[in-house]
């Protein structure tokens, strides 16, 4: 191997190491940014208009819970409740979010709505910017309603920032985010094509770190990684067992370690925390004219997600089937977030659709409090033994 190739591979490892470090310590990122005199705003799932936060001059930091044990948040939620909500509140109650200037809380599912109110009660000192998104998002009245909600949040952000969010600033942020989304989509393809260089854990960390890094910074690093990966020799796709993952989250280190131990790689994903969050861009031509409407339009174009109402569920089924066929995956691993009603409601129809196409699938229960992955390991090992 030539010296250049060796140094390229070293740099790939280095970049993946940087992403892993960021993904593992979001609080360090928050402390770093605020230490530099910047202000940060926490952004809860799903489909929050981060561009608005960015355009106001804040660093948006994604809050999708965290691995750990719920202690303090147990005062506000029963045990049988989504851990993203419970761990998100746990972070707030244990001081991890103290340096945030505010949080934006979308309310797309029935779990997040009570979280918004509990957050308000638990941490009245951290402004909570409530964002009600319309499920009827494709109609003109749905878009008008969403724009009115965005305008309200925009006003609250402006008050916190002490400055107006201009259309020009918002348009610029839209461009930054579109570029970031495109780069992340490119990375998903390249990571699958270079499975020996990008482990399942490393793939997850590279995507997860985008939630804790200013998007331009992340974009610069990810573009460098993508360019290096693109220059690497093609790999035999049969060297690894390639699957499509589906679920809300797929970022647990101990869970993904099993994927790597079993030589299983993610060929494509239908994960809310990953591809679902960056597959739709904000239309830039509209953003140049009316950026708030462009944000509403982008939300209207979102589809194929358990969290979004659809008149025709078969569209999502076909989307999942297409992901498998287009990526060459051998099956689907559903990572079922415990107590997630929307995901559990969609699962039977998705499973049935895969069965009709003879696409093998498996469902693994998962949440952020899990410490014992023995059963998950057995399930994944068996699945691999079946699909080869």
């Amino acid at each position: 191997m030539s010296e250049k190739k060796v140094s390229d591979r070293q740099r790939i490892e280095e970049l993946l190491g940087i992403f892993s470090g960021i993904a593992a310590s979001p609080k360090s990122q928050l402390d770093m940014y605020t230490g530099l005199g910047k202000k940060a705003v926490g952004v809860f799932p799903y489909y929050a208009p981060e561009e608005l936060v960015h355009a106001a001059g804040f660093i948006p930091l994604g809050i999708w819970g965290a691995s750990g044990t719920v202690r303090e948040a147990g005062r506000y939620f029963p045990a049988f409740y989504c851990t993203i909500a419970r761990m998100g509140l746990e972070l707030a109650l244990t001081g991890v979010l103290d340096r945030l200037s505010a949080v934006v809380m979308p309310t797309l599912c029935d779990t997040l709505r009570p979280l918004s109110q509990n957050f308000k009660a638990a941490r009245p000192d951290i402004p909570m910017l409530f964002l009600a998104q319309p499920q009827n998002r494709k109609t003109y009245y749905g878009k008008d309603y969403y724009v009115s909600e965005l305008m309200r949040v925009k006003g609250e952000l402006e008050a916190l920032a002490g400055k107006k969010i201009t259309d020009e600033a918002l348009y610029e942020s839209v461009q930054v985010y579109n570029e970031s989304r495109a780069e992340r989509r490119r990375f998903v393809q390249l990571a699958a094509a270079h499975a020996s260089l990008v482990s399942t854990q490393a793939r997850s960390a590279a995507l997860k770190s985008a939630y804790f890094t200013e998007k331009r910074e992340h974009q610069t690093l990810l573009k460098e990684l993508n360019d290096l990966l693109a220059a690497q020799p093609a790999e035999n796709p049969r060297d690894y067992t390639r699957v499509v993952t589906s679920g809300i989250l797929a970022d647990g280190g101990n869970l993904l370690k099993i994927f790597d131990e079993q030589s299983i790689r993610v060929a494509a994903d239908d994960v809310a925390h990953e591809s679902r969050s960056f597959r739709v861009d904000v239309p830039e031509s509209l953003a140049a004219e009316a950026p708030m409407y462009a944000l509403a339009e982008a939300f209207a174009q979102q589809t194929d997600d358990s969290l979004l109402w659809e008149a025709d569920l078969s569209h999502r089924q076909q989307h999942l089937i297409d992901l498998v066929l287009d990526s060459g995956a051998r099956g689907v691993v559903f990572l079922m977030m415990q107590f997630c009603d929307p995901e559990e409601l969609d699962y039977p129809s998705l499973k049935a659709a895969l069965d009709t196409m003879d696409i093998p699938s498996i469902q693994i229960g998962y949440d952020q409090q899990m410490t014992d992955f023995g059963q998950a390991e057995t399930q994944l090992m068996t699945f691999k033994e079946i699909i080869g």
């Binding site: 059963q375 057995t378 068996t382 033994e385």
Partner: protein
């Protein structure tokens, strides 16, 4: 040439030694699963049963929750694949395997060609597992081996609504305090577990012939309750508890030849 399969479960370790014709030459079973001396004891028993020494083993496959702790194993396989292979060996026409072990329950679908096609496992919960029966045995002071006979004498089956070990214990104690007969309570417990495992099996789809493997398969009361729940006969081989180890030995022979 001999092949060893080691199934290190959560509560019991099982071993089977086969030869190149896939005939069983020895077996061993010892209490104590992962992290105990159980696996070594089971191996020693199997070797003694086969009249063989450790050096006679050409290949070893470990399975079960403790599979990664079996240092002597040449490779590991999941217990689901092993139970499927073991069940097919014991009942070549099997299409559905219900494996109830110490800490989980699984339902396996087998193709007409005898290959594992798909599976479903219970969620992390002791309901519908051997652990549940152990707890009920303790609460009712009825040894596990005698549970089926006691339940067989039940005048009627009490309804036990909870399959959670913690809540069921409270419920059972309440029933006993009300003066219920032990046999009636036990019959209710078998029915409750059967309903839980039966629901799992129905989600997967029950295709005859149905075979039960795992330690709980030895419990006649459990088998009868599950037959009633599923409305189909269930085969239980005397070697049902060894099915995983047998499957592992068969995989060892495939890898070693």
């Amino acid at each position: 040439m001999l092949f060893l399969g080691i199934d290190i479960g959560s509560a019991v370790s099982k071993c089977v030694i086969t030869d190149e014709t896939e005939a069983i030459r020895g077996k061993g079973l010892s209490p104590g699963g992962a992290g105990t001396g159980g696996p070594q004891a089971a191996v020693a028993m199997a070797l003694a049963d086969a009249g063989a020494a450790a050096g006679d083993i050409a290949a070893t496959v470990a399975t079960g929750y403790g599979r990664n702790l079996a240092a002597a194993a040449d490779s590991t396989m999941s217990e689901l694949s092993c139970h499927a292979a073991g069940a097919v060996k014991l009942y070549p026409g099997v299409r559905t395997v219900i494996d109830i072990g110490g800490q989980d329950a699984k339902v396996l679908s087998i193709t007409p060609a005898g290959k594992l096609d798909s599976f479903i496992m219970n969620d992390k919960c002791a309901a519908g597992t051997g652990r549940f029966l152990e707890e009920m045995s303790r609460v009712l002071a009825v040894p596990i081996d005698e549970m089926a006979d006691v339940a067989g004498r039940a005048a009627h089956e009490l309804q036990i609504s909870s399959t959670c070990v913690v809540f069921a214990e409270t419920e059972v104690i309440s029933r006993m305090a009300e003066g219920a007969a032990v046999g009636d309570v036990l019959a209710g417990i078998f029915a409750a577990i059967a309903a839980r495992v039966g629901a799992l099996a129905k989600r997967k789809g029950v295709v005859p012939e149905v075979v039960m493997t795992g330690g709980v398969a030895k419990n006649e009361g459990m088998r009868r309750a599950l037959e009633r729940e599923l409305g189909t006969p269930i085969h239980v081989d005397p070697l049902a508890q060894y099915a995983g180890a047998l499957g592992a030995a068969l995989f060892a022979s495939q890898s070693g030849l």
